[in-house]
Symmetry: C2
Protein backbone atom coordinates (compact mmCIF):
# COMPACT_ATOMS: atom_id res chain seq x y z
CA UNK A 1 0.00 0.00 0.00
CA UNK A 2 1.35 3.42 -0.89
CA UNK A 3 2.28 5.57 2.10
CA UNK A 4 -0.42 8.11 1.29
CA UNK A 5 -3.80 7.30 -0.21
CA UNK A 6 -3.74 10.82 -1.65
CA UNK A 7 -1.12 13.52 -1.58
CA UNK A 8 -2.51 16.99 -2.24
CA UNK A 9 -0.25 19.79 -3.44
CA UNK A 10 -1.59 23.30 -3.03
CA UNK A 11 0.18 25.95 -5.03
CA UNK A 12 1.54 28.68 -2.78
CA UNK A 13 3.06 30.86 -5.47
CA UNK A 14 2.95 34.58 -4.93
CA UNK A 15 3.75 37.24 -7.52
CA UNK A 16 3.67 40.98 -7.31
CA UNK A 17 0.23 42.55 -7.58
CA UNK A 18 -0.93 43.06 -11.14
CA UNK A 19 1.39 40.44 -12.66
CA UNK A 20 -0.29 39.12 -15.82
CA UNK A 21 0.03 35.49 -14.75
CA UNK A 22 -1.55 36.16 -11.37
CA UNK A 23 -0.82 34.46 -8.06
CA UNK A 24 -2.25 31.30 -6.56
CA UNK A 25 -1.64 32.76 -3.10
CA UNK A 26 -1.73 36.54 -3.54
CA UNK A 27 -1.39 37.33 0.16
CA UNK A 28 1.13 34.59 1.01
CA UNK A 29 -1.11 33.58 3.92
CA UNK A 30 -1.32 29.92 2.79
CA UNK A 31 -5.00 29.97 3.65
CA UNK A 32 -5.94 27.32 1.10
CA UNK A 33 -3.22 24.95 2.21
CA UNK A 34 -4.16 25.46 5.85
CA UNK A 35 -7.82 24.81 5.05
CA UNK A 36 -6.96 21.47 3.46
CA UNK A 37 -4.82 20.50 6.45
CA UNK A 38 -7.48 21.50 8.93
CA UNK A 39 -10.31 19.80 7.07
CA UNK A 40 -8.33 16.57 6.74
CA UNK A 41 -7.54 16.70 10.46
CA UNK A 42 -11.17 17.41 11.32
CA UNK A 43 -12.22 14.32 9.37
CA UNK A 44 -9.49 12.16 10.93
CA UNK A 45 -7.97 11.64 7.48
CA UNK A 46 -4.62 13.31 7.99
CA UNK A 47 -2.61 10.15 8.61
CA UNK A 48 -3.41 8.69 5.21
CA UNK A 49 -3.90 11.86 3.19
CA UNK A 50 -1.39 14.69 3.21
CA UNK A 51 -1.88 18.28 2.12
CA UNK A 52 1.35 19.97 1.11
CA UNK A 53 2.21 23.48 0.15
CA UNK A 54 4.08 23.53 -3.14
CA UNK A 55 6.03 26.00 -5.17
CA UNK A 56 4.62 27.24 -8.46
CA UNK A 57 2.80 24.45 -10.29
CA UNK A 58 3.02 26.55 -13.48
CA UNK A 59 -0.69 26.43 -14.30
CA UNK A 60 -1.05 30.02 -13.21
CA UNK A 61 -3.84 31.04 -15.57
CA UNK A 62 -6.08 28.47 -13.88
CA UNK A 63 -5.16 29.25 -10.30
CA UNK A 64 -5.45 28.84 -7.47
CA UNK A 65 -4.26 25.42 -8.54
CA UNK A 66 -4.31 22.14 -6.64
CA UNK A 67 -3.11 18.74 -7.84
CA UNK A 68 -3.95 15.42 -6.21
CA UNK A 69 -1.58 12.48 -6.62
CA UNK A 70 -1.25 9.65 -7.39
CA UNK A 71 -4.55 10.33 -9.14
CA UNK A 72 -3.04 13.21 -11.18
CA UNK A 73 -6.30 15.13 -10.86
CA UNK A 74 -5.86 18.86 -11.33
CA UNK A 75 -8.19 21.48 -9.94
CA UNK A 76 -8.32 25.16 -10.84
CA UNK A 77 -9.93 28.24 -9.40
CA UNK A 78 -10.09 26.56 -6.00
CA UNK A 79 -11.50 28.67 -3.18
CA UNK A 80 -11.78 28.11 0.54
CA UNK A 81 -15.42 27.25 -0.03
CA UNK A 82 -14.42 24.30 -2.23
CA UNK A 83 -12.12 22.55 0.22
CA UNK A 84 -14.69 20.51 2.12
CA UNK A 85 -16.22 19.25 -1.12
CA UNK A 86 -12.84 18.15 -2.50
CA UNK A 87 -12.02 16.42 0.77
CA UNK A 88 -15.37 14.71 1.20
CA UNK A 89 -16.19 13.82 -2.39
CA UNK A 90 -12.78 13.08 -3.82
CA UNK A 91 -10.29 12.34 -1.07
CA UNK A 92 -12.67 10.48 1.23
CA UNK A 93 -15.25 9.33 -1.30
CA UNK A 94 -13.19 8.66 -4.40
CA UNK A 95 -15.27 10.90 -6.68
CA UNK A 96 -13.36 13.91 -8.05
CA UNK A 97 -15.22 17.22 -8.10
CA UNK A 98 -16.01 17.58 -11.79
CA UNK A 99 -16.90 21.28 -11.76
CA UNK A 100 -13.42 22.22 -10.52
CA UNK A 101 -11.31 19.86 -12.63
CA UNK A 102 -8.95 21.25 -15.20
CA UNK A 103 -9.20 19.57 -18.57
CA UNK A 104 -6.10 17.62 -19.56
CA UNK A 105 -5.70 19.93 -22.56
CA UNK A 106 -5.49 22.92 -20.22
CA UNK A 107 -2.70 21.58 -18.00
CA UNK A 108 0.88 21.97 -19.14
CA UNK A 109 -0.35 23.39 -22.44
CA UNK A 110 1.44 26.13 -24.35
CA UNK A 111 -1.97 27.57 -25.15
CA UNK A 112 -5.55 26.82 -24.15
CA UNK A 113 -8.87 28.68 -24.10
CA UNK A 114 -7.85 30.30 -20.79
CA UNK A 115 -4.28 31.17 -21.62
CA UNK A 116 -3.16 33.85 -21.56
CA UNK A 117 -5.35 34.89 -18.66
CA UNK A 118 -7.70 37.74 -19.67
CA UNK A 119 -6.49 41.14 -18.55
CA UNK A 120 -8.16 42.33 -15.38
CA UNK A 121 -10.52 45.23 -15.93
CA UNK A 122 -9.80 48.26 -13.82
Amino acid sequence: MAPFAHHVFVCGNRREEGHPRGSCDPTGAEALHKAFKQTLADRGLNRRIRANRSGCLDQCEHGPTVVVYPDAVWYGGVTLGDVAEIVDSHLAGGVPVARLRLADECVNAAACPHKPRPAATA
Copy 2:
Protein backbone atom coordinates in the same frame (compact mmCIF):
# COMPACT_ATOMS: atom_id res chain seq x y z
CA MET B 1 -2.30 11.11 -21.41
CA ALA B 2 -1.57 12.79 -18.09
CA PRO B 3 -0.18 16.31 -18.39
CA PHE B 4 3.14 15.28 -16.85
CA ALA B 5 4.82 11.92 -17.33
CA HIS B 6 6.43 12.50 -13.95
CA HIS B 7 6.05 15.28 -11.41
CA VAL B 8 8.94 15.50 -8.99
CA PHE B 9 8.54 17.23 -5.64
CA VAL B 10 11.74 18.25 -3.89
CA CYS B 11 11.39 19.08 -0.23
CA GLY B 12 12.58 22.60 0.49
CA ASN B 13 11.94 22.62 4.21
CA ARG B 14 14.37 24.52 6.37
CA ARG B 15 14.59 24.38 10.14
CA GLU B 16 16.90 26.13 12.53
CA GLU B 17 20.36 24.61 12.83
CA GLY B 18 20.54 21.71 15.26
CA HIS B 19 16.82 20.89 15.15
CA PRO B 20 16.44 17.17 15.93
CA ARG B 21 14.36 16.52 12.82
CA GLY B 22 16.91 18.18 10.53
CA SER B 23 16.28 20.13 7.35
CA CYS B 24 15.94 18.94 3.77
CA ASP B 25 17.29 22.29 2.60
CA PRO B 26 19.44 23.58 5.46
CA THR B 27 20.70 26.66 3.60
CA GLY B 28 17.43 27.53 1.85
CA ALA B 29 19.34 27.75 -1.43
CA GLU B 30 17.04 25.27 -3.21
CA ALA B 31 20.12 23.71 -4.78
CA LEU B 32 18.57 20.26 -5.14
CA HIS B 33 15.40 21.60 -6.75
CA LYS B 34 17.44 23.74 -9.11
CA ALA B 35 19.61 20.78 -10.05
CA PHE B 36 16.56 18.73 -11.01
CA LYS B 37 15.20 21.60 -13.09
CA GLN B 38 18.50 22.18 -14.83
CA THR B 39 19.12 18.51 -15.53
CA LEU B 40 15.63 18.04 -16.96
CA ALA B 41 16.15 21.10 -19.16
CA ASP B 42 19.58 19.87 -20.27
CA ARG B 43 18.00 16.56 -21.35
CA GLY B 44 15.09 18.30 -23.13
CA LEU B 45 12.67 16.61 -20.72
CA ASN B 46 11.24 19.66 -18.98
CA ARG B 47 8.04 19.89 -21.01
CA ARG B 48 6.84 16.46 -19.93
CA ILE B 49 8.51 16.17 -16.53
CA ARG B 50 8.27 18.90 -13.92
CA ALA B 51 10.44 19.43 -10.86
CA ASN B 52 8.70 21.37 -8.13
CA ARG B 53 9.85 22.73 -4.84
CA SER B 54 7.53 21.60 -2.07
CA GLY B 55 6.92 22.45 1.53
CA CYS B 56 7.82 19.90 4.21
CA LEU B 57 7.05 16.37 3.03
CA ASP B 58 7.23 15.24 6.67
CA GLN B 59 9.73 12.44 6.10
CA CYS B 60 12.42 14.54 7.72
CA GLU B 61 14.48 11.73 9.25
CA HIS B 62 15.16 10.46 5.73
CA GLY B 63 15.90 13.78 4.12
CA PRO B 64 16.68 15.36 1.82
CA THR B 65 13.48 13.83 0.54
CA VAL B 66 12.11 13.69 -3.00
CA VAL B 67 8.88 12.09 -4.18
CA VAL B 68 8.01 11.27 -7.78
CA TYR B 69 4.38 11.11 -8.86
CA PRO B 70 2.24 9.55 -10.18
CA ASP B 71 4.66 6.71 -9.45
CA ALA B 72 4.64 7.45 -5.68
CA VAL B 73 8.33 6.59 -5.51
CA TRP B 74 10.06 8.16 -2.51
CA TYR B 75 13.76 8.87 -2.29
CA GLY B 76 15.75 9.78 0.78
CA GLY B 77 19.19 11.16 1.47
CA VAL B 78 19.28 12.65 -2.02
CA THR B 79 22.39 14.67 -2.87
CA LEU B 80 23.30 16.80 -5.85
CA GLY B 81 25.40 13.90 -7.07
CA ASP B 82 22.30 11.70 -7.32
CA VAL B 83 20.21 13.96 -9.53
CA ALA B 84 21.50 12.86 -12.93
CA GLU B 85 21.02 9.20 -12.01
CA ILE B 86 17.42 9.76 -10.90
CA VAL B 87 16.69 11.73 -14.06
CA ASP B 88 18.35 9.32 -16.46
CA SER B 89 17.45 6.00 -14.86
CA HIS B 90 14.02 6.70 -13.44
CA LEU B 91 12.47 9.71 -15.13
CA ALA B 92 13.82 9.08 -18.60
CA GLY B 93 14.38 5.34 -18.40
CA GLY B 94 11.56 4.15 -16.17
CA VAL B 95 13.82 2.34 -13.70
CA PRO B 96 13.76 3.83 -10.19
CA VAL B 97 17.10 4.13 -8.41
CA ALA B 98 16.89 1.31 -5.90
CA ARG B 99 19.74 2.43 -3.66
CA LEU B 100 17.99 5.72 -2.85
CA ARG B 101 14.43 4.49 -2.46
CA LEU B 102 12.72 4.73 0.87
CA ALA B 103 10.98 1.56 1.93
CA ASP B 104 7.20 1.86 2.13
CA GLU B 105 7.40 1.05 5.84
CA CYS B 106 9.66 4.06 6.37
CA VAL B 107 7.38 6.63 4.73
CA ASN B 108 4.58 8.12 6.76
CA ALA B 109 5.42 5.78 9.61
CA ALA B 110 5.12 6.71 13.26
CA ALA B 111 8.33 4.77 13.84
CA CYS B 112 10.89 3.02 11.66
CA PRO B 113 14.51 1.92 11.98
CA HIS B 114 15.61 5.49 11.13
CA LYS B 115 13.18 7.41 13.27
CA PRO B 116 13.94 9.28 15.34
CA ARG B 117 17.00 10.41 13.47
CA PRO B 118 20.20 9.53 15.40
CA ALA B 119 21.62 12.47 17.31
CA ALA B 120 24.50 14.12 15.51
CA THR B 121 27.84 13.55 17.18
CA ALA B 122 29.67 16.70 18.11
